[in-house]
């Protein structure tokens, strides 16, 4: 860069203008080259770590299952076929794969519920942090991220200690005479939802906070001056302005919930599977890798649909605010 600049300066004055353009072009070219070079490691990692395995799964999903796990190099659409359709094991009739559909429905239902509870707890938290004096906000944000310091497995076991029959909550309730028998919370869908809400809550708080921080609270004051009720301020001013954060948070909670494996495995008691566990089963005791691959790709497509929805609704809301 420096040498080109020097040669340009030595040129006679009348040719300086086209040369300056040349220099700019040269510098830009170098910049592009440098940028490509700098991003190569990241691109390689992305390709190897994301695209590679996906391609392998795509290939596997079109092969036959080996008798003891693994795959056989023989083309078959059984994997994909079995995602949606099941052949009755006893009379060979075909029907919708009702086990898969109910597991899928449970996953979607629990993920939506988790997203909703995260929103209920996360929104006021983000509002609280955003309305603190600026120098104190970092402390609160720091506190929100503390759970991330501990391993997911340990946090999940901690939840188990709280909600088990002889756990903290039941013991306290019984000792105050509020309940006679311990409430069965562990090994229920409720437990799975509590666990996922706890684990993913920071992923809801942080994006909402990011939007809320940019919110001009003078607008809120103005609304009050114009006799808006508290609810109206929330509905007409705050929510529309932090909508991008809300949507981002919801997506960040919904997607990992949909594929959750550890939490339903430990807190759900294994009696009712979620999608992640169904996929796990196919690679383990089920010995059906093609079906497992097809199920994973189905999950991936669900996630992409959710993202598509996000892009569309986020696009709409930013379009509005620019106007």
């Amino acid at each position: 860069m420096a040498t080109t600049a020097v040669t340009a300066a030595k040129m006679p004055p009348d040719t300086a203008v086209p040369d300056a353009a040349n220099v700019v072009r040269e510098v830009r070219k170098q910049e592009v080259r440098r940028n490509i070079l700098l991003s190569t490691p990241a691109l390689i990692v992305i390709f190897c770590a994301a695209a590679g395995p996906l391609l392998i799964m795509l290939v596997y999903s079109f092969l036959s299952a080996g008798p003891y796990g693994g795959i056989e190099w023989k083309f078959s659409i059984d994997g994909w076929f079995n995602v949606f359709v099941q052949r009755d094991i006893f009379d060979d009739t075909l029907s919708i794969a009702d086990a898969h559909v109910s597991i899928l429905w449970r996953s979607v239902k629990l993920s939506l519920l988790t997203t909703f509870t995260c929103f209920i707890f996360g929104f006021p938290t983000a509002y609280f942090i955003a309305t603190r004096p600026p120098e104190r906000r970092n402390l609160w944000l720091f506190l929100v991220t503390i759970p991330f310091w501990t391993n997911l497995l340990i946090r999940t076991f901690a939840i188990m200690e709280l909600i088990r029959n002889q756990g903290v909550i039941n013991t306290v309730l019984t000792s105050f005479g509020l309940i006679e028998e311990p409430i069965q919370m562990l090994f229920t869908d409720f437990a799975v939802m509590i666990g996922m809400t706890y684990v993913y809550l920071p992923l809801m708080v942080l994006p909402i906070y990011a939007s809320m921080e940019k919110l001009d609270f003078r607008l809120v004051e103005a609304a009050y001056d114009l006799y808006a009720t508290r609810f109206k301020v929330l509905k007409r001013i705050i929510v529309p302005l932090v909508k991008p954060g809300l949507i981002a948070g919801s997506i960040l909670v919904f997607i990992p919930s949909l594929g959750a494996y550890v939490t339903p495995r430990i807190l759900g008691g294994g009696k009712h599977m979620m999608l992640g566990n169904l996929i796990g089963l196919q690679f383990g005791q089920g010995r059906n890798w093609p079906l497992g691959s097809a199920l994973s790709l189905t999950l991936l497509m669900l996630v992409m649909l959710a993202l598509l929805f996000y892009v569309r609704s986020a696009g709409k809301s930013t379009g509005g605010s620019h106007g």
């Binding site: 008798p67 094991i89 006893f90 294994g270 009696k271 690679f283 383990g284 005791q285 010995r287």
Partner: protein, 344 residues
């Protein structure tokens, strides 16, 4: 310049430490979770200077899947008897000929030649036991020597029942309960087994491993589970008892085998020979509380092992216990379909 020196120093340190590790020798053991006695490991390391690295697994199939993929770096694995033929057939095991090792004579005669490994060319017993029912007798005081505890439970136990999510064991037990055999290809019987399971499911709480603490603490009141675990639960809570289903129950033997692509074959053989010494086999049993198959090891075990009904099968129930065979891929497919339906 300084960073270069640091880099060289780090690299040197790395090379040196890995060099030391290799010189002393190591052994990578891939075993079931909560199953290997740390004292056994310590003793082996002290006697041989070989360092043991243990990695856990939860079920036979995930272990099989992991090894089949390759690149695992393990030397020894401990599959159950019904899986050993699969491991051999898939060409994953090294024919280590433990039958020619110096301590082989210590094995009880009945374990020196077994169906799943004729002539013992591949495996050495680790521990063996049964799949029965463990019941908290403070909750239910009736007859516990029946699998109806799980499949048609008394009202006291409803909603407090667990079973180990080990497909082969559960399917084997339910098939015996309805008067059939494990791995049967009789579809009428398989259908009946499914119906029994589906009808019983609302009475269960969970399908989980790690039951010892939960039943001792009262989170569960009954479980289809393994005998040694039941023993360990009883030591924590004296009300927990183990029943042998008279409809028939499964026996199993987890067996140590060397992997074909093991890197430390000699160390692995040393370990195999080591665990056939009565004192050492006793250490295995003292921890996980299952019998081990080595003659004369009982006298080195904790005293309570010799009298525990969980370990020493009472004479009246001996005849109902059978080893589970490995099922054919076709039956396995039906098993999986039932299994998925059960957890939907």
């Amino acid at each position: 310049m300084k960073w270069k020196l640091t880099a060289i120093a780090t690299a040197l340190a790395f090379v040196m430490t890995s060099g030391i590790a290799n010189a002393a020798g190591e052994l990578n053991l891939f075993n079931w979770g909560n199953y290997t006695n740390p004292e056994l490991v310590e003793k082996f390391e002290k006697e041989t200077g070989i360092k043991i690295i243990i990695t856990d697994y939860d079920d036979n199939d995930s272990a099989l899947a992991k090894i089949k993929v390759g690149g695992h770096g393990f030397d020894l694995v401990v599959p159950s008897s019904n899986y050993v033929p699969i491991w051999i057939e898939e060409g994953l095991l090294l024919e280590a000929r433990p039958d020619q090792m110096s301590n082989f004579k210590n094995l009880e005669a009945r374990w020196q030649d077994v169906d799943w490994d004729p002539g013992r060319h591949y495996t050495v017993p680790w521990q063996w036991g049964s799949v029965g029912v463990m019941v908290d007798t403070a909750v239910y005081n009736g007859d516990i020597n029946t699998s109806s505890i799980i499949f048609d439970p008394p009202p006291e136990l409803v909603g407090k029942i667990n079973f180990a999510p080990e497909m082969a064991d559960v399917m084997g037990t339910v098939l015996r309960y309805i008067g059939s055999e494990p791995c049967t290809s009789d579809k009428a019987m398989l259908k009946k087994a499914r119906d029994v399971l589906m009808a019983a499911k609302p009475n269960w709480l969970s399908m989980e491993y790690g039951v010892i603490e939960k039943i001792a603490a009262g989170d569960l009141a009954a479980s289809l589970y393994w005998n040694g675990a039941a023993f360990r639960a009883r030591l924590k809570n004296p009300d927990v008892h183990y029943g042998y289903p008279r409809e028939g129950y499964s026996l199993w033997m987890d067996s140590v085998a060397i992997l074909k692509d093991a890197k430390n074959v000699e160390n692995a053989k040393t370990f195999m020979n080591f665990i056939m010494v009565p004192e050492n086999a006793a250490l295995i049993s003292a921890f996980a509380r299952y019998a081990n198959g080595v003659e004369g090891s009982v006298k080195y075990m904790p005293e309570d092992m010799a009298t525990a009904t969980e370990v020493v099968i009472p004479a009246e129930f001996v005849a109902s216990g059978h080893f589970v065979p490995a099922c054919s891929p076709d039956v396995q497919k039906i098993y999986t379909a039932i299994w998925t339906e059960l957890q939907k």
